[in-house]
């Protein structure tokens, strides 16, 4: 029963959510009970999921405290980093819960720009996020270098297409092939770059998209039918 109950719940919720796409949405205050039921499910399901996620947040916090608290206690490897994590977690939680420096009361926004939590976000969290995001520029360069190394025919084609798109999207690229006569205008870099994006690239993307859509349907059916073992911690045969 322990493994059957979650499975039955998944199946029931899955079928109900599929059905919501095919039941008419009534105008406010109108419609029959059938429509009202499915409209209610459709509107509230994401709210229920969020409520569940809030309860699960306790599990996440317990995991974080367990992993880092244990390391600090044992003075394990890199324990000062764990201590910094615990301190950051504790301080942020405390100033957020107490709404220090911000508008008080239940309706007061804990992340108000005048509050300490707001200031922590503006002065610490945002710059740190921006720094991590900025790393992307260097990683894009190193990944591109590897991808564009001309070792195979496919890599050569990729490199050629990338060069055409990169140069074709700049004023320099446009000026470079402006001299081509009208009958050969399709070879101008800006047009060639547009063609690559809109024809072969889009065709590939659509093929992937069709595959993904069918994969999602098949995966959902597998979950509804309980064929996908292991996801719910179900025992295997």
């Amino acid at each position: 029963m322990r493994s059957r109950a979650p499975q039955l719940l998944v199946a029931a919720v899955g079928i109900l959510l599929v059905l919501t796409a095919f039941v008419p949405r009534p105008a406010p205050g109108a419609g029959n009970a059938w429509q009202g039921f499915f409209a209610y499910i459709d509107e509230n399901f994401s709210v229920w999921f969020n409520i569940m996620a809030v309860f699960a947040f306790g599990l996440g916090a317990a995991s974080l405290l367990g992993v880092h608290g244990g390391r600090v206690r044992r003075r394990g490897r890199d324990w000062p980093y764990s201590l910094a994590t615990l301190l950051a977690f504790g301080v942020t939680l405390l100033v957020g819960l107490l709404k220090l420096g911000g508008p008080p009361g239940l309706t007061g926004d804990p992340a108000d720009s005048a509050s300490i939590l707001g200031r922590i976000f503006a002065a610490v969290v945002s710059p740190l996020q921006a720094s991590m995001f900025a790393l992307l520029a260097f990683f894009v360069a190193s990944a591109s270098y590897r991808a564009f190394r001309v070792r195979t025919r496919e890599a050569s084609a990729l490199l050629a297409a990338a060069l055409v798109i990169l140069i074709g999207r700049t004023p320099f690229g446009s000026a470079l092939t402006q001299w081509l006569p009208e009958p050969l205008a399709f070879l101008r870099l800006e047009r060639l770059s547009l063609w690559i994006v809109q024809v072969p690239n889009l065709a590939g993307q659509r093929a992937i998209m069709i595959g993904i859509a069918l994969g999602v349907v098949a995966m959902s059916l597998r979950l509804i039918l309980g064929l996908e073992r292991g996801v719910l911690g179900k025992e295997r045969p």
Partner: protein, 272 residues
């Protein structure tokens, strides 16, 4: 009937019924012994080898089931692969580290891991803290995972699920320490990054097929046949639509124009 069924979605209902019917028939046929032959996905075939390498090197295997919550089907597909992978790490006595950025995903990953270790006959080696929660914050999560990669130097990294801008930040960190990396996502915008930075990438639908290929379960493999039939129908419709559109543009024959617009209506979202 008007109050019970959204008539604007008749075509969506039709395709749902057809596709559902084809998938169910394929599952039934597979359970009766007509198991389809599935081409070997290089990324799936390399999983055992990648875990074996981690065992030889005495280093851990890192697994990230995407960066979305449990209501995303890609996360579920990632967790389905995790179940099979955890059974493998249990048998080979390899250290598995699962890093999550959502508490619900962490809870589900723990259940999947525990069940896999139990099924592999090694429940005593399972540790709940093999699966840890890092942070809901996108770049906070990346900072922790990249830091762990630099310090722990895992032999193998699995990135299977839905990813956003963090995909390259994670995969490049793994690439720089020389880890074997197997990625899979149905996020089209992130696929090029994984392809550039990882050794193997499961592209789109391959992510959803991975657990079927790993388990070899006939019912799961049956759904792959159903998917292929769906693709054949989509390909046929695309071809027919292209031919009709070309013929309509060239000839302007009313019959062909009507046929083309009927086909277009059939595939229009939100009904005709």
């Amino acid at each position: 009937m008007a109050g019970w069924f959204e008539q604007a979605n008749w075509n969506l209902a039709l395709f749902t019924l057809i596709l559902g019917g084809v998938l169910l028939a394929s599952i039934r046929a597979a359970l009766r012994g007509r198991v389809p032959r599935v081409r070997v996905l290089p990324g799936v075939a390399a999983m055992a080898e990648a875990v074996g390498r981690a065992v030889e090197m005495g280093r851990p295997v890192f697994f990230v089931p995407g960066t979305r919550d449990l209501d995303n089907v890609q996360t579920v597909a990632g967790l389905a692969v995790l179940g099979e992978l955890a059974a493998l790490t249990a048998r080979l006595e390899c250290r598995l580290e699962v890093l999550t950025d959502r508490s619900l995903v962490m809870a589900a990953a723990r259940e999947a891991g525990r069940a896999a270790y139990l099924a592999a006959g090694r429940p005593e080696t399972w540790r709940d803290d093999s699966v840890s929660y890092v942070s809901d914050d996108q770049f906070g999560f990346v900072a922790r995972v990249d830091g762990l990669i630099a310090r722990e130097r895992p032999a193998t990294c699995f990135w299977l699920g839905a990813f956003s801008a963090e995909s390259l930040l994670l995969a490049e960190a793994g690439s720089q320490i020389g880890a074997i990396q197997i990625a899979g996502t149905a996020e089209r915008s992130q696929l090029p990054f994984f392809i550039a930075a990882c050794d193997y990438t499961l592209i789109g639908e391959e992510l959803f097929a991975a657990s079927a290929c790993l388990t070899g379960d006939p019912a799961l493999l049956g759904t792959l046949r159903g998917q292929d039939l769906g693709k054949a129908v989509a390909g046929g419709a695309l071809l027919l639509g292209s031919l009709l559109a070309t013929a309509a543009a060239l000839t302007h024959w009313p019959f062909i124009v009507k046929l083309q617009s009927a086909l277009q209506r059939l595939f229009s979202a939100g009904g005709p």
